[in-house]
């Protein structure tokens, strides 16, 4: 069974490679969560090494704003997560709507570490619109990955956004190639207003 990187360790690694992720914090009570929210909508997620697919296990609650919503959400989530002990609860800023993409890494038994770019979120498994390359990748590899996607005009409608995605892909590839992790999901990364936020991640060693 592969081991999940602790969320803090994962965040630290992303920061080291200057990969932007959404602001988040472990909370140990609903009071903590309300304080973190400071009146703005948040997401609560239960993190457990025993539940690799959080959404499928019902461990993600979106768009909690009022104190009441957060309090009830925290209690509800704790109940659901109790069968995946030990777990921790993570509070995250709710991201603006945008295009969801996936960037990831896998270790192929034959060719070694590989990096992936695709249309993300809930569309990953339906459309399977992705491009894959062996690490390390060059800028022209990153460009050709983008060009290979059927959804390229959705995720990179102009030269500026294409450039931003190439830069990000190069960073992700560099981070993945250099680390001990065997598998990586940054899914989804939400693209909005010419920038991005890595919203959820999974690093396995």
């Amino acid at each position: 069974m592969p081991r999940l990187f602790d969320y803090d360790r994962a965040q630290h690694l992303l920061a080291k490679y200057r990969i932007k992720s959404i602001e988040s914090k472990y909370v140990s009570s609903y009071g903590d969560a309300i304080k973190f929210a400071a009146g703005k909508p948040i997401v609560l997620k239960a993190i457990s090494g025993k539940a690799l697919h959080k959404a499928k296990s019902g461990l993600v609650l979106l768009g909690l704003s009022s104190d009441k919503e957060i309090t009830e959400g925290f209690r509800d989530l704790s109940k659901r997560a109790s069968k995946f002990k030990p777990y921790k609860i993570l509070a995250q800023r709710m991201v603006k709507e945008g295009i969801e993409i996936i960037m990831g890494g896998n270790t192929d038994p034959q060719f070694g570490k590989m990096v992936l770019l695709g249309l993300g979120g809930i569309y990953v498994e339906t459309f399977k619109d992705f491009a894959l390359r062996t690490c390390p990748i060059t800028r022209s590899d990153a460009r050709s990955m983008l060009e290979q996607l059927k959804s390229r005009k959705i995720i990179a409608p102009d030269e500026k956004s294409a450039k931003m995605l190439e830069d990000l892909l190069l960073k992700v590839s560099k981070m993945f190639a250099a680390s001990k992790m065997q598998e990586l999901d940054l899914n989804p990364i939400i693209l909005h207003n010419g920038t991005y936020d890595a919203v959820d991640l999974r690093m396995l060693e």
């Binding site: 192929d108 060719f111 590989m114 992936l116 060059t138 899914n187």
Partner: protein, 465 residues
């Protein structure tokens, strides 16, 4: 060879001066008999030495020896075709006799679970630094040196022309049937290598050899898997900088890893990883045996285009329409003709001809009209590639047109493909065009796919990766 960065030298296997056939026999039906017969029938000009443990006198007119050690002359290539348990001893003797390369056609090793017997071969090969192809393979065919270890009855397989295509196949059956197709299509062969179990010489060695082989213009590969992924990438990267590799990968329908823990791993299975490597390092991916040949012949004969602009010349309106669709479906475009070309065409073409692409020169077009069109289009800077559609059912199309197309096979550095759809009358003219090096296709779609493959590789090469 395995585990090292140095690569096997296959020169003496493919271009031997002296060949020993271990297991040679006069008995019909024996593989050793078929191989001897092949060398004799092919007119191999070098020394031929049959070796058989129970030999006395001559085998098929050649002095026979009980052991390769008795020959007393330098041997370049030993072909081993004796029962599997006896192979290690024979290979050891090849090592002692300082043979420069070995092909083991014998089956009955790792492919049937006799892993230890195969390991013995690997140890012996390492000890003597012997390049060994096989076991369990057809071996090699080289139409220049006329070295041919294929033990297939010669009347059942067409003899290939000498040319620039090197065809490599792990599988013997895909190898021999495709080789037959290559010959039947009149394509030119540089080398054929079927390498079976890849115990010693594997795809990495073969790719490296062919990359540096001056006779090989295009490498055509049927592959089921590689043994050394990282080394394969290293060699492939260098090779595609020099020459194109057209590849058909068997076993691509397997799904991604079943019990994956991440989305990425569930998408990126083994088949996807191969595909990614091919894409990343400039391979031309074929999806069928037909495509393998379609791409091979365009790479073998045509220059790489500078851009993706295609001119279509046709003597049939409908074919022009289909071809236009096919061009765009393959990511290529029909440009606007330059003003001088338009003016010049207007002067020489009959009034019924619309001066734009696709250029429909009419059902009555003859050799002269094709020739005029070629001459003017070949000078147009707006055009990178030409697709000439010649329908021989029309009144004007005859051998004159076929010869005209053949004459323009080198369109001043513009790639040219022809499309001729039809039966036996058409086929005879297709043969004329192909013999001069024009790749001809049955359908505009196949022709467009071939041009797209050419352009894609050209783009990869220009990117200077």
């Amino acid at each position: 060879m395995n585990g090292k960065t140095e690569y096997a030298d296959l020169t003496h296997i493919l271009n031997p001066k002296c060949v020993a056939i271990i297991g040679a026999s006069e008995k019909q039906g024996k593989v050793g008999q078929a191989i001897m017969q092949n060398y004799i029938d092919a007119g191999f000009a070098g020394g031929l030495y049959p070796v058989n443990i129970s030999a006395t006198g001559k085998i098929m007119g050649h002095q026979a020896y009980k052991s390769i050690l008795d020959i007393g002359r330098p041997i370049d290539l030993a072909v081993i075709s004796i029962p599997a348990p006896a192979v290690p001893k024979a290979l050891e003797e090849c090592g002692k006799a300082k043979v420069k390369g070995v092909v083991i056609v014998t089956a009955g090793f790792a492919e049937v679970g006799n892993v230890e017997l195969q390991e013995q071969l690997v140890r012996i090969a390492k000890k003597y630094k012997l390049p060994v192809i096989g076991p369990n393979c057809l071996g090699v065919m080289d139409p220049r040196s006329r070295s041919d270890t294929l033990f297939l009855p010669t009347f059942k397989i067409d003899k290939p022309n000498v040319g620039g295509i090197s065809f490599v196949s792990q599988s013997g059956s895909v190898g021999s049937s495709t080789l037959d197709l290559i010959s039947g299509e009149g394509l030119g062969l540089a080398r054929f290598i079927s390498y079976g179990n890849a115990a010693v010489v594997d795809e990495v060695d073969i790719l490296n050899f062919l990359a540096h082989d001056p006779d090989t213009k295009v490498i055509v590969f049927y592959l089921e898997g590689v043994k050394r992924g990282k080394e394969f990438i290293e060699v492939a990267k260098k090779t595609t900088k020099i020459k194109p590799i057209v590849i058909l990968k068997g076993g691509v329908t397997e799904s991604g890893a079943g019990a994956a823990h991440s989305h990425t791993a569930s998408l990126a299975g083994s088949a996807q990883a191969y595909e990614a490597v091919f894409e990343q390092f400039g391979f031309t991916i074929a999806r069928s045996l037909e495509e393998l040949l379609y791409f091979a012949k365009v790479f073998d004969t045509q220059p790489l285009p500078k851009g993706n602009r295609v001119a279509i010349i046709t003597n049939g309106g409908g074919h022009g329409v289909i071809a236009t669709d096919a061009v765009y479906q393959n990511g290529l475009v029909l440009p606007e003709l330059s003003k001088p070309t338009q003016a010049a065409l207007r002067k020489v073409m009959p009034p019924i001809v619309n001066i734009r692409l696709p250029l429909d020169i009419g059902g009555d077009a003859d050799g002269k009209r094709y020739s005029d069109a070629f001459e003017l289009l070949s000078n147009d800077q707006n055009i990178d590639m030409v697709m000439a559609i010649v329908l021989f059912q029309t009144p004007g199309a005859d051998e004159g047109v076929a010869e005209t197309v053949a004459k323009y096979m080198a369109m001043k550095n513009k790639a040219l493909v022809a499309v001729s759809t039809g039966g036996s009358y058409t086929k005879s003219h297709v043969a004329v065009m192909e013999s001069q090096g024009v790749p001809v296709y049955d359908s505009p779609n196949d022709a467009a796919a071939a041009l797209a493959a050419l352009y894609k590789y050209a783009k990869y090469k220009m990117s200077g990766k």
